[in-house]
């Protein structure tokens, strides 16, 4: 295992926030703004109607939305974002069947220096094509991705798509472990997390987070399985995969970690069915002080939770 | 126990049967699954139908003549019908079907 570098130099994602429906509006439930107080203040004043701003658009169009240019767009907090140095955002709707549970929004900045990727893959004619993605400085990798498509079962997106399960891939750039490995390696990408984003309607979306060592999206990733077909009738989840820069492998085939609803951060997500964002809270798993946990609702139940820590 | 090697299991189709002639009469070898074989008398106690020609389902065989159904574990007729067929010890080893020699020997027949 790589020895952890404990003080993050620069992280790929700077702001993460959760918007939840309240009546006809989306209101801010939680957010991790780091030191960007000004943007936090602007956000706390905000709310979005359906089809209003970025979260409202993800709700109305029922799909993940990538926005790489705020100026002149439907983005509502452009001035505050500009002041905070934020340049791009991705909104991920969390649906349970036809019901919107929340919209998770991540914002990034400084795209000339930071490397990583947040990609949205969409099903088109039986193949997964890149719908849109934010790549920071990984320009060549962006180009490769735009010209790649995945059939069922192939690569991280194709694997997630056909198995309906989040997948965590290791060592993306170490030469052979990833279909776009060559370019990923040059871009310094190490770990990839892929997850299904179920939305109303037939079309399937896959979100991938590709993390680089220098400007990581996270240093710890977890995948929890909460399907009744796996855990039975109890409202539990078990850790089926995970990797951590501090603790190493988190999976244990024989004795997987198990949480029950409302037990710890993952348990809270299990209980509420809504994404969780924590920031500046030392004492999370392995001593990290920020985390994001995103539930996936499939087949009428909360099927999985993916979590990432920094 | 001593066992008689009757040959590879693949000589019997899955859910099919083959006949073995013995001193105690004809015995059906019934392959009920990929690696599962039963041995039982071939003759239906009702009207003598050849059970090895019946349809095999689960661990049962249905007589081709009048649809009597027998459980191959016990040899008992199922449902309303009364009757029983003899069953014989059989086992699989390395994909070969072995039949208990004692149970089909001339002495048993006597």
């Amino acid at each position: 295992m790589e020895v952890a570098i404990d003080t993050p130099v620069k992280t790929f994602i700077e702001v993460t926030e959760v918007w939840v429906p309240e009546g006809e509006k989306l209101v801010l439930a939680e957010g991790n703004y780091g030191a960007l107080d000004g943007f936090e203040e602007a956000s706390r004043r905000e709310s979005f109607a359906r089809d209003e701003g970025l979260p409202g658009k993800a709700w109305a169009e029922a799909r993940p939305v990538v926005l790489k240019q705020f100026d002149g767009s439907y983005f509502k907090r452009t001035e505050a974002a500009k002041a905070a140095g934020l340049t791009s955002a991705v909104a991920i709707p969390v649906f349970d069947g036809d019901t919107l549970k929340a919209v998770l929004v991540v914002l990034c900045g400084d795209d000339s220096e930071r490397t990583g990727a947040i990609e949205v893959w969409a099903e088109t004619d039986g193949l997964l094509m890149l719908d849109d993605g934010y790549y920071g400085a990984a320009k060549h990798f962006e180009w490769v991705s735009q010209h790649t498509h995945f059939p069922a079962g192939q690569g991280l997106p194709g694997g997630v798509w056909s198995s309906k399960t989040p997948i965590l891939m290791r060592d993306l750039g170490s030469g052979y472990r990833f279909i776009r490995a060559d370019s990923a390696g040059k871009a310094g990408l190490t770990t990839g997390l892929g997850l299904p984003v179920p939305v109303p309607g037939k079309r399937g979306y896959i979100l991938t987070l590709l993390s680089a060592r220098g400007t990581p999206i996270a240093r710890r990733f977890e995948i929890w399985d909460a399907r009744s077909a796996k855990v039975g009738k109890a409202n539990d989840a078990i850790l089926i995969d995970g990797i951590c820069a501090r603790e190493g492998a988190l999976w244990d085939e024989d004795n997987p970690r198990r949480v029950t609803a409302w037990q710890g951060a993952i348990g809270r997500v299990l209980g509420t069915g809504i994404p969780l964002v924590e920031g500046g809270k030392p004492g999370l798993a392995a001593g990290y002080d920020s985390m994001v946990a995103l539930p996936i609702h499939q087949g009428g139940e909360l099927s999985h939770i993916v979590a990432w820590y920094l | 126990m001593s066992w008689i090697d009757l040959g590879p299991i693949d000589e019997i189709p899955v859910r099919g049967a083959r006949l073995v002639k013995t001193h105690v009469g004809c015995i059906g070898l019934f392959r009920t699954a990929e690696a599962e074989v039963f041995a039982a008398a071939n003759k239906c106690p009702h009207k003598g139908g050849p059970l090895s020609e019946g349809i095999i389902h689960g661990q049962k065989v249905t007589c081709p003549l009048h649809n009597w159904v027998f459980d191959l574990n016990t040899g008992e007729a199922q449902g309303a019908d009364q009757g029983r067929i003899e069953t014989y010890p059989v086992r699989l080893e390395d994909g070969r079907v072995l039949l208990d020699a004692e149970s089909v020997s001339r002495r048993s027949a006597a």
Partner: protein, 809 residues
């Protein structure tokens, strides 16, 4: 301190060293040899490393520090060339090491099919990190293709991993379904479907003949002539113990190194553990017993008592998103009973095998939540008599839950999903019932529950009963058999609409309650599948009644009758001579039948291929006198000879029979063509009867002359012989596609109405479609089964063995 030498750093010997050094770190000075240039890693996790879902670092169990901390002298990358038991030394490539105690942990190697080309570069096994690296390397080329030989645990994990890496993957499996040792057909079917969803091609009953290539692998040739291009070939057909070294050292061997319950070999100072041992005739390939052995051996080496016992095993497949579980014994036992649960909408299949009130086996697909609980019941041999009725629902359901299905439905929460297809929950159905939908049709109309696949019909009816109480009487739709609540009509409809193309698919997707049907449904489902999917489905002889399986009619004394075809009732002297010769040769009784043919009665089963061959040689084919299919076309002599004949009735009869023979139908079909209304061929009581008149041909259908006697009804009248043939073919195909199995045409027509039948057959476009589909089916089924059985299945007609011929003991 005693010297311990361990040969092989695998999972079993690794666990041994853990136990040994934990319990008594000072007991032994350990030297560990390993041919691989590395220490112990978790081999069973190689497939996620291959797929990229784990890194090699994560699966290392013992790193250099671990060995150093325990003073284990590591000789990695060094092969042991011999063991000299007389001098008690192990001879390595780089020198000798003396021992007081020696442990063989040499494991196993992949079994490589010795077909031509098996040694070409690019043929890999899947046993160690080197194999894994070779495969990942091969997958690096865009568009590279892999052929995996072996659809067992290891082969399928390799296939899924290589697919995830971006390869085109084909799995070849010898047996009829995947993982046949661990799974039954239904679970194998679901697994295959799951893998195919990932873009993996699965070929069952595929036998490899040759691996071809010039200097490296290029393609794989199958026995049936199929050629599959390949950049790598993964051999995953099995393992065999790696025991040459032990054999050379003169230890007692069976199929592997023989050990006692303390893991001791025939030499009291030499022990063996893991996949290289044989204990009480058993070999071991899964990890659980290896760990047990390691624990026993550690205690043995520390002079403590312990004994290894063979236990039940369970299997899981490491393919992300494939949830399967298999445990226990399906192969032997008396008085066993199956409990089967299927949820087609969610792709769930569970089967429990019970014997003497104990659970002895379990297979689960799609829902493995309770697998540990079931495995515990199997392992501990717990008495399950009290919970038998609800056992399949798992531990959450135990503790006094009543067995009455109505109370189970009543206990469901309102949000429980009843209809998976349309996502209808119990609450909505109850509401609809309370709102006035008081029968199944009304519930279907208002909620869509049970309107799609129909498998929840029973549940909806139970809800009606629960909600309405005595006000509801369950309608008596006749189910096909005890295996399902669906009617024949439902099953036919669903086979078409859900595109079900195999029997396991029908059993699973339509929720059969038995593992593989019964004598009532199997022949029917077999017919429906071959009629609807002639090109996709393969006829299953084991789902046919004896006559159709043996292509002859069984008689009450167990002999058979044999009847060659005589097209239109015409024969000649040489055919008759051959028939006479055959009758003499096989001692047959000769009977002239009402269908204008000759029947040879009293032929023994083992003589069938012989008599068929003789008749084939005289140019005759099977008359299908035993089939639910076209029997004969009876004719009169017609205008060629008869002074009243209006058309060439014999000629038309021959043409019809030549077009229709070999086709399977829901029940037998008899035809006749009469040359004039005097009707000498008795056409008006046949399933299809054509009466020639001056102006053309009157086609009647739905006659009968059996237990029911019925005159045909006029389907239509046509002017030309060609049209008469077209109408007849179209009618037969319509009957094939729509009738219930074992309904003769007159019964079927009574159900659907002659008007509907006529509309279909008379409409030119519909007729053309019917004829086209019939002809496609005939490309598969119009073949002489006698010739085929003589050529391919001759041996099956003889007894497997004749023990009466053997000398008395």
């Amino acid at each position: 301190m005693q010297k311990l030498v361990v040969i092989g750093a695998g999972m079993a010997s690794g666990r041994l060293l853990e136990h040994l050094t934990e319990t008594d770190p000072g007991a032994y000075e350990v030297t560990l040899f390993n041919a691989e240039p590395r220490g112990n890693y978790n081999r069973i996790m190689l497939s996620p490393v291959l797929s990229g879902e784990k890194s090699y670092e994560e699966i290392v169990t013992h790193d250099d520090d671990w060995y150093a901390a325990r003073n284990v002298t590591c000789r990695f990358g060094e092969k042991v060339t011999a063991v000299d038991r007389a001098r008690k030394v192990v001879i390595g490539e780089n020198g000798e090491v003396p021992y007081d105690k020696l442990v063989f942990g040499t494991g196993s190697s992949a079994f490589i099919i010795p077909c031509p080309g098996h040694d070409l570069p690019g043929v890999v096994a899947f046993r160690d990190l080197e194999d894994t690296a070779a495969m990942t390397e091969a997958s690096g080329t865009p568009g590279a293709r892999a052929v995996v030989i072996g659809g067992g645990l290891l082969g399928l994990e390799a296939a899924a991993a290589l697919r995830l890496r971006g390869m085109d993957v084909t799995v070849l499996h010898l047996s009829g379904h995947l993982m046949e040792r661990q799974l039954d057909e239904a679970a194998g079917y679901l697994l295959q479907k799951d893998l195919e969803k990932r873009g993996i091609t699965v070929m069952t009953r595929a036998s490899t003949k040759e691996i071809r290539g010039n200097g490296k692998v290029e393609s794989v040739l199958l026995e049936d002539g199929t050629v599959l291009p390949a950049d790598i070939v993964v051999m995953a057909v099995g393992i065999r113990p790696q025991v040459q070294l032990a054999k050379d050292a003169g230890l007692d061997m069976g199929r592997a190194i023989k050990v006692d319950a303390r893991m001791r070999t025939s030499d009291p100072d030499v022990f063996a553990v893991g996949e290289c041992v044989e204990f009480e005739g058993n070999l071991f390939g899964l990890v659980a017993p290896l760990y047990d052995q390691a624990k026993v051996l550690a205690r043995t080496l520390l002079a403590e008592e312990d004994a290894f016992k063979v236990k039940q095993l369970s299997t899981k497949l490491k393919v992300t998103g494939c949830d399967l579980f298999s445990a226990g014994d399906f192969a032997e036992g008396d008085g066993r009973e199956d409990i089967v649960f299927r949820d087609p909408a969610r792709g769930i299949y569970k089967r429990l095998v019970i014997e003497n009130d104990r659970l002895i086996g379990a297979v689960m697909y799609g829902d493995t939540a309770d697998s540990n609980w079931f495995f515990g019941l199997i392992r501990d041999g717990e008495d399950i008599a009290d919970m038998r009725e609800s056992l399949i629902f798992g531990p959450g359901f135990q503790g006094g839950a009543a067995a009455d299905p109505l109370s189970a439905v009543a206990a469901l929460p309102p949000e429980a999903e009843i209809c998976g297809c349309n996502g209808v929950c119990k609450g909505r159905i109850t509401q609809a019932i309370e709102g006035g939908a008081t029968d199944l049709g009304a519930v279907r109309a208002t909620t869509k529950a049970s309107a799609s696949c129909g498998t929840c019909t029973g549940l909806v009816e139970q809800l009606l009963a629960v909600t309405l109480g005595d006000g509801y009487a369950t309608p008596a739709a006749q189910p096909m058999c005890g295996c399902t609540d669906l009617t024949h009509e439902d099953v036919r409809r669903l086979i078409k609409s859900q595109e079900l193309k195999s029997q396991p698919a029908v059993w699973q997707e339509l929720g059969w309650t038995t593992p593989n049907g019964c004598h009532v449904c199997r022949p029917a489902v077999n017919f429906y599948l071959l009629a609807d999917w002639p090109l996709d489905y393969q006829d299953d002889p084991q789902s046919r009644f004896v006559n159709e399986r043996n292509h002859a009619n069984i008689q009450k004394d167990g002999t058979y009758s044999v009847m060659p075809r005589m097209f239109g009732g015409m024969t000649d002297a040489s055919e008759l001579r051959a028939i006479a010769d055959a009758a003499d040769k096989y001692g047959a009784v000769v009977k002239v039948t009402g269908g204008q043919r000759i029947d040879l009665l009293g032929v023994k089963k083992e003589d069938l291929p012989g008599i068929w061959e003789d008749l084939n040689n005289a140019g005759m084919v099977s008359g299908h006198a035993y089939s639910k299919g076209l029997r004969t076309v009876k004719t009169c002599v017609g205008s060629d000879w008869c002074r009243f004949g209006t058309q060439d009735s014999t000629g038309l009869g021959i043409k019809l029979e030549k077009r229709l023979w070999g086709s399977w139908t829901p029940h037998k079909v008899k035809l006749a063509v009469s040359g004039c209304p005097r009707n000498c061929a008795e056409a008006t009581c046949k399933d299809i009867g054509i009466v020639c008149v001056d102006s053309g041909y009157q086609i009647g259908v739905g006659g009968a002359a059996g237990m029911d006697v019925k005159e045909v009804e006029r389907l239509t009248e046509v002017a030309t012989e060609e049209e008469a043939i077209d109408m007849t073919v179209a009618f037969v195909q319509l009957y094939r596609e729509n009738a219930k199995y074992l309904d003769r045409p007159y019964k079927w027509i009574a159900k659907v109405g002659l008007d509907w039948v006529r509309e279909q057959v008379v409409d030119p476009a519909t007729r053309a479609g019917l004829i086209e589909r019939f002809d496609i089916s005939q490309t598969v089924y119009q073949k002489d089964p006698w010739a085929e059985h003589v050529a391919e299945r001759r041996a099956r007609y003889a007894p497997l063995a004749d023990l009466t011929l053997e000398a008395a003991e």
